[in-house]
Symmetry: none
DNA sequence: TATGAATGAGGCTTCATTCAT
DNA sequence: TATGAATGAAGCCTCATTCAT
């Protein structure tokens, strides 16, 4: 909560302790330092991905799965806190290797699952044969997150961006013509 | 340079003054405060967009223009410092309205130019009739920047991502079939 | 061990508990506080003096006894840990009365025994009639400990200093000429 | 003053700043850290040795010079603050190489000068031919400082110890018989 | 315009100690 | 007797900023 409201660097360890209803000293009985609190959060973030992983694991027709995923993940990202936290973590990841690794791992879990869907879609002839399904998955995620960031910054509701986002992604993926 | 190397919050005003070969006191004769140094940089960033705006203003066939733009902007973003600075500024923009505005304005300049190209492409039947050209432009920029961030974080050269990125964008934009 | 390695003030109570394989809480069941751990050590130190007291109690000719004592006590002090601990305790003794008292008592036990030897030596005409045997004893101890500290700090083996130390002390004590 | 009154470790950086009538931040404009304040003091200590060096440089008969030195240095050491500071610095020197070096250097300046006197005394037949004049000088200094520490700890005025100290040293140094 | 010493609030972390279990 | 989570004061240090020169 602190990191969301004030950002990682603006947040003091005292803020965290107060918010957690824990004495300052005791916070240090649970975390070696402020940095590790962020690491913990980054690890908790991974669990938030479970619902989306579950969707991606569904055996329905891939276009349906993809659509469902886009809607669900977008809805999740529509909450500014999720965008902010992702940005806050991205930002630290640039200079802190352990956070970078966690970030990449978290992301990999999601893209791996999405990659599997895209591959299946190609096999099923539901998607066109993109040159590199993994890269395509990465890009899809990036489009969703980029749009979410924009929605927060420009204060345009995510839902207003959804149409174009879905159109952009699906057009790129669905087989030409039809 | 300081912000790139250590990040905005990790950088002290002293660091900036030293790097600029300026005395600490004199720095404050030129900038009201640390924040304003970041603002200045965000404004300088805008000028860096000029070459890309020039490309987008070219009257060649739009697919060619788009291709040229993608290659040029990607090359620019391939330099980690540009990715980092963009991230650093994005990150501050979340909580600092004036930086947010600058960021949005900078981005608007680029997307407006890109939007014009997309619209022209549609008129020329070189691109399919995307539902909202402006949104599409935004997404294109986000895809490019998202890939660049990934390239920095995962230490994969941007050039290796280029193929998929171009494929993804162009497929989404080019008219079906043909 | 902790006090030796890191010094009294640099050592945390946790360090002590860990080293002693005792839980932090339980340490406090045995010692009222950190201070008292040092007191305990200072008291244990006294027992270390036993061998030297035994030597000083020997009824051999006093020059022989003195020589034996000097060699034995120097050898003991040649171990840096004994010098360091003595210094650590001296240092605390300056401001903590109870440690000062222990320190003085410990020292008294040694000097009293040495004083007895010196006195006997004088009676036996083996030593010259020093003006104040007790003071002389104190000084002898101080010479030994001072040299030991120097040996630790300058990293010169105690054994290299022994010759001069013995010469200095004995010359001062032995009867002038024959 | 702070280090004298409360000891190095018990003294807070704030205490130092307050005592120096300097703001906390400004203290750090002059010293990189607390440690360096002690280093500075250790360096200032060297200047305090000047009067004694001057005495040792006198060309009077060596026994007179030695006597004068012992009286002057003892008087200096009779002030508890000088004993305490020496002890405080000795204590840190054990674990901090830079302070150790300073301490050894300071000490060397004094002992070198004293060594010269002892050597001259030997040449003049005023002193006996001690086996190693440098070691003898070191021991003399240690006797003086050891006695001073004892005087502080046992609260016996240095002046009461002087007789025995001088006797001990001179007897060791003066030629046999005579 | 230029300097850098001065400020003091606030940064993160460690500490000796307590206490419910 | 044993545990270790909990406390909050105090630790050292850095910060953006001011101001006399």
């Amino acid at each position: 909560m602190c990191f969301l409201e004030r950002g990682y660097h603006q947040t003091g360890v005292r803020d965290i302790a107060n918010r957690a209803q824990v004495s300052l000293g005791n916070l240090y009985n649970h975390f070696p330092g402020k940095h590790d609190v962020l690491v913990e959060i980054a690890m908790l973030e991974r669990k938030e991905m479970d619902p989306f992983l579950k969707i991606l694991a569904m055996r329905s027709p891939t276009p349906k799965v993809l659509d469902k995923f886009i809607r669900a993940y977008s809805k999740y990202l529509a909450a500014p806190e999720n965008v902010i936290l992702t940005l806050e973590i991205s930002s630290e990841a640039i200079r802190q290797p352990d956070i970078a690794q966690l970030f990449v791992e978290n992301r990999a879990e999601l893209t791996d699952a999405l990659t599997a869907v895209v591959k299946r879609g190609i096999d099923d002839k539901d998607f066109r044969a993109v040159p590199d399904p993994e890269q395509a998955s990465q890009i899809i995620i990036e489009v969703l997150e980029g749009s979410a960031y924009r929605s927060v910054l420009s204060e345009v509701p995510m839902r207003k961006l959804m149409g174009s986002v879905k159109d952009f992604i699906l057009t790129s993926l669905l087989p030409r013509q039809g």
